[in-house]
């Protein structure tokens, strides 16, 4: 059975990629909210925010990219939930396939869809004046961190999709994830925040990830933030993956 894992995963990934190509609105709606935030913060609030950098778009973009991912992964929970409801999940499970490829198909699709949304957001940022002199290695590092973050959050979405009772429940879990960047260094420096809020902001995963990406884009030395960021991503990924597998086993017994 495991010998079919790669082939089955490829077939099932192809299936859900087709879903996306037939409803490209899912990619557009994923990108719309982060772009709206970007416009709002750059052109409305940005003038009053003191970040110590000359370009607020440059400062803002890393956090916006994380918001894009947080809103994009909700579709994974949604699609998985529909599979469970429609009975096609049971059909797959009763077939001689590598069973976990049903989940991996959705996860890889989420990765592909989020890459497209992220590219769209970066292109809009370029139009708004975002510039970076970062080289290929720095961009690859950024891409790697974003992919890891997407993977980690997507497995959280898998838990939500498997355990949701309603369609609304399947996507509502992502709201806190979308707002997490607001209580971080994504929009304003954490130094201005009052004690407990500042403590939370400085010790939650988004700040470390945002700081790392920001430093990479600005071609500055990245310090220890990258290790904190990677540790968070891997910890969330492992935790979410294990919980998703528990939820999955419960579903098929």
């Amino acid at each position: 059975m495991t010998s079919h894992f790669i082939g089955d995963t490829a077939v099932l990934t192809g299936r859900s990629l087709r879903h996306i190509s037939r409803s490209p609105d899912t990619i557009i709606t994923t990108a719309v909210m982060p772009i709206a935030f970007m416009l709002l913060f750059v052109y409305v609030f940005g003038g009053a925010i003191e970040t110590g950098t000359d370009s607020y778009v440059n400062y803002l973009l890393p956090g916006i990219l994380l918001i894009t991912i947080a809103s994009g992964i909700a579709y994974t929970a949604y699609r998985l939930f529909l599979d469970l409801q429609g009975g096609i999940f049971e059909r797959f499970q009763s077939m001689p396939i590598a069973r976990s490829s049903v989940l991996w198909g959705h996860v890889l699709t989420s990765l592909a869809a989020n890459v497209i949304s992220l590219v769209v957001v970066v292109l809009v940022a370029l139009l708004m004046g975002f510039r970076s002199g970062a080289g290929v290695v720095a961009w690859l590092a950024i891409a790697g961190i974003l992919m890891l973050f997407t993977l980690a959050l997507t497995w959280i979405a898998v838990i939500a999709g498997l355990s949701a009772k309603t369609v609304d429940g399947a996507s509502a879990f992502s709201y806190p994830l979308i707002f997490l960047p607001f209580i971080s260094s994504a929009f304003v420096p954490t130094e201005t925040m009052p004690g407990p809020v500042r403590w939370f902001a400085e010790n939650q995963p988004v700040t470390a990830i945002v700081n790392t990406i920001r430093d990479l884009l600005a071609q500055q030395s990245i310090g220890s933030d990258i290790w904190v960021a990677l540790a968070w991503c891997v910890a969330i990924l492992v935790g979410a993956y294990v919980s998703a597998m528990v939820a999955y086993r419960r579903k098929i017994l």
Binding site: V11, L12, R22, G87, R91, F92, Q93, L253
Partner: protein
């Protein structure tokens, strides 16, 4: 006639509870290869639970179940190679076209030339014209036909049909019946659950009635009819049934919608 061969499905002492609810309280039955076996029961009798255990989607609390000689608990992979499940709700991918749905299943069954398999089944189920349309545009009957066609891919020796005609109009229902008959004629073992008595009467070689988690009776239709006092002769005016009227008016076997 099939007494010499091993049963295609063997169920012994099957029990399953969900919380405090004892859905199955010791279910036993055998199904001979190539026969149609109907599991009859009202809603909540446990029919779907039996089918889910047989198709390795659910584990039993006690008892054993074997399909095609393989134990559903310890040889689940071999069981899945031997079966196909058509669940209560047509399990088709709404976004994909009919043809893509068939190709998808053929690929997941690791068969050669999925495209040819799909085209052949589209023709057999009168879906060729609709093959390039998204399944979401199909009528209930077409969707069920596609669903059953997907289940036939790979010619599994045992097919489970869980309430295959629930929600279908009379014509579509008769069409599904024909398909099931053809399957059994071709040597496939069919386990069918239904709450329609006439469906079991029409199709099944053997009928078992599942009630409160136990099999009440399990026999041929003729033998079941003998359970009640022998027939008395009554003279009644022969009225056409509403089904006969309906089919006469709309034309049975007319163009597929």
């Amino acid at each position: 006639m099939t007494a010499a061969r091993e049963p295609a499905i063997t169920v012994q002492g099957l029990q399953r509870s969900f919380g405090d609810v004892h859905v199955l309280r010791g279910v036993d039955f055998d199904v001979a290869p190539g026969s149609i076996f109907a599991l009859l029961g009202s809603n909540g009798a446990g029919k779907t639970t039996v089918v889910k255990i047989l198709s390795t989607l659910l584990k039993a609390d006690a008892g054993t179940a074997a399909v095609n000689g393989f134990d559903t608990a310890t040889q689940a992979g071999d069981v899945r190679e031997s079966i196909s499940l058509t669940g209560q709700f047509a399990a088709v991918d709404e976004v994909l076209t009919g043809r893509e749905n068939l190709v998808l299943v053929a690929k997941l069954r690791h068969l050669d030339d999925p495209g040819a398999i799909a085209d052949d089944l589209l023709a057999r189920f009168a879906l060729t014209d609709a093959g390039s349309r998204a399944a979401s545009t199909y009528s209930g009957g077409m969707r069920r036909r596609l669903d059953i066609a997907m289940s036939l891919i790979g010619d599994p020796p045992v097919i489970f049909l869980d309430e295959p005609t629930t929600g279908l109009d009379p014509e579509a229902r008769i069409e599904v019946w024909r398909t099931i008959k053809r399957l059994a004629d071709g040597g496939t073992t069919v386990l069918l659950t239904t709450q329609y008595l006439d469906e079991a009467e029409h199709l099944a070689d053997r009928i078992a009635i599942l009630h409160h988690g136990r099999i009440l009776v399990n026999d041929t239709l003729a033998a079941l009819k003998k359970l009640l006092p022998s027939a008395t002769v009554e003279y009644v005016e022969k009225q056409p049934s509403l089904e006969e009227v309906f089919l006469a008016l709309v034309g049975e076997g007319a163009e597929h919608t």
